[in-house]
Amino acid sequence: MWWYLRTRLAIWVLRATGRVIRWAALAAALIAAAPVTLVAAVGLAGAWLRAWPPARLRRAAWWSLPMTAAYLLACRLRSASWRALALAPFDDWRAAWHHVAAGQLVTAFALCAPVAVPAGLLAAAGLWAWRIYAIETGLSGKTATAPVIFDARQWRRASRAARGRVTAPGAFPLATSSGRVVMGATIRAVGHRWRPVAAVPYQALGRHQVIVGSSGCGKTNLMMRTWAGWYAAALAAWSRRQAARPLLVVLDCKGGPDARVKAARARVLLHAAGARRVAIWPDEATISLWTLPPTDLAVTLFQLIESGTGPAAYYADVTQAVLTLAVTAPPGPPASAAGFLARLEPGWLENAYARDPPGLAGVAAARRVLPDVNLRYRTLLSRLGPALDGPGTLADADAWYFILEGTREQSVAEAQAQAITDLVAHAVTTPGTEPRAMMLACDDYSAVSGRVPLSNLFERGRSLGVGVQVSAQSWQGLGRDDDERRRICATADGGIWLMRTPYPQPVCELAGTRRVIETATKVIGGVWGDEGSSRVQHAWTADPGIARRLATGQAGYLRAGGCTWVQIARPRPSPIPLPAPAVVIPPAEPRRQARPEARPAPVPPAPAGDLDDVFGQEARR
């Protein structure tokens, strides 16, 4: 019995001694490498408090290497031998202890800093990576809920740090010199490379993108940043002759006073990004639907009106036949709405097709329905208003902001959206014109998507080489059914921006899952024990729980199976104006004809002779 007890005691003493020796050795190593320990401790504390990822510490270590290089260079210049150079850090470390003994701590640290800073930061990065791994996998932490608490705390701190960072104006321009569109400060990167500033290659914005976020989540800021950033980066690429000149087309499908405010803000941003002419439709500029080629024009005019199914399809076919006759008549396509309506008269068509017997037979067959078709299109065109009746083409401005009153007059807005997308398609496909890099952004397109399904727009955009950006307030707003919604998101190869929304799961599914280690801890006697098991599980790459709780201005960028959570920086134009050529402007007349004309102002300037009408007798003082 005594023998057994003595053996147990000896084993315990041996184990305790081993532990003490191990801790003593570790403490001795930490003290010996005190400068490295100090830097590592500061780095770890910073990472914990600011929720930096290990990559942040590694970057800091990398950027402190010039300090080491300068130190080694100076050592080499001072002593000619390589041996002295190799031993210089050791010599300085040894000298530092003498200064510590003399109470000169600053000198001691200065002697070791060139090597200790990168080494300490690198050590901190490794330790911090291990700490995160240990917590996430359940290897560390006092309670079983430690991973949850750790994750929530680190998210809070990372969000706070990102909110602070986006106030730095120079760190968040609209675009970088390397052609990336700056979006904001990275909060967390899952499956993506971590960078302090989240930026997207401008080419990605030239592909399809989807933005989902409920009202008041900061969607407008995000969209404006993508528009202005894309324009600035694309313009820079054009000036380097690496891409075509950019053209931005924005469809604001909600309309109302808010749309005017957004348009004015977008104009200021785009001017600062280098856009020369920003046209706001229909308030300030008009565009001509009648510039479409005759066959396209006939199809567009036909699609502008509702045509039912079943028996109504017969009348739809008749209408299409009449439109084709009117638009493709021998004198050429109509140049205005009035000209088009004048063609929907039997007399005009008979004259036009007088030398074309097959056409004349068609006119005779359609004679009975012409008044109905005329009435229908007269009503439609009067509702659409004069803003589609020209003059003006998309090429006349660098950016177009179309305001469609989708909330107030949905059917009109739908028809306008249809016409405008047709004009965009025509502008891209017309041979012989200047090729343009085009981005078509549709804000709240769900308001008018009844006539032109979003998936069609995406498909058309892809085939035409136009990047389409679509925003909706919810998953449901992206299309009429789940099939269409999934098709839209699945083709968004430019990425998906997910903002706060109550139903983010379908979007999060697109980012896929990642493998994580899940540790189950055994409960022994009502407390968490130190036994358990681990297994590989799958977790969301883009956590829907995070998406539901996102604060205003936060967004997740889903692309290529990864997700980067970003604090979007509010887009601000550079306060420094672009270089102006001179105060003299070139003659206006030739270019005024080419650019979209303003609507006739209600009060024209008084000609020379009628000053009295304008001013009364005061002008003749």
Partner: protein
Amino acid sequence: MTSRNPFAVLGLPAQPDLADEDVRAAWRRIASATHPDRDDGGDPDRYREASNAYTTLRTPWGRSEAYADLRFPAPPAPPPRTPPGARPARPRLSPWRALLLVPARIRHGKPGRLTLRIVAAAVAALLAWHSGAGTPPIAGLLTGIATWLILTARGDLAPPPGR
């Protein structure tokens, strides 16, 4: 033929966000003083110039256009396609001009924060200089402080124009 700056003709600041009333008031003031029907014959040339300027600036769109004309150069002809292997043209902002813009970027950025940063760097550099640690460590420390200052001070500057 070249036209003068229409904002200057009407005595208005060159801003795209002027109100209709401001433009109209400016034109009325000039027109009433220069109209050819005045007893003294007025100033027909000046009146014509002001009328043209008012025609340009009377709508928000017109003001935006004129402002754009003043601020940005006319769109150049589309550049020829880059032949395979050819080097792309230089970017618009030359390094020399970028350097000249630094004072403006400081002024429009966060000068207070930048000053604090510079002061902190200067204090650290002075501490390192007077630490008596020898030339190599001091050279290393000064390089490190300069690297930190350059990397972090960029955020305190306003973005360059066009970006």
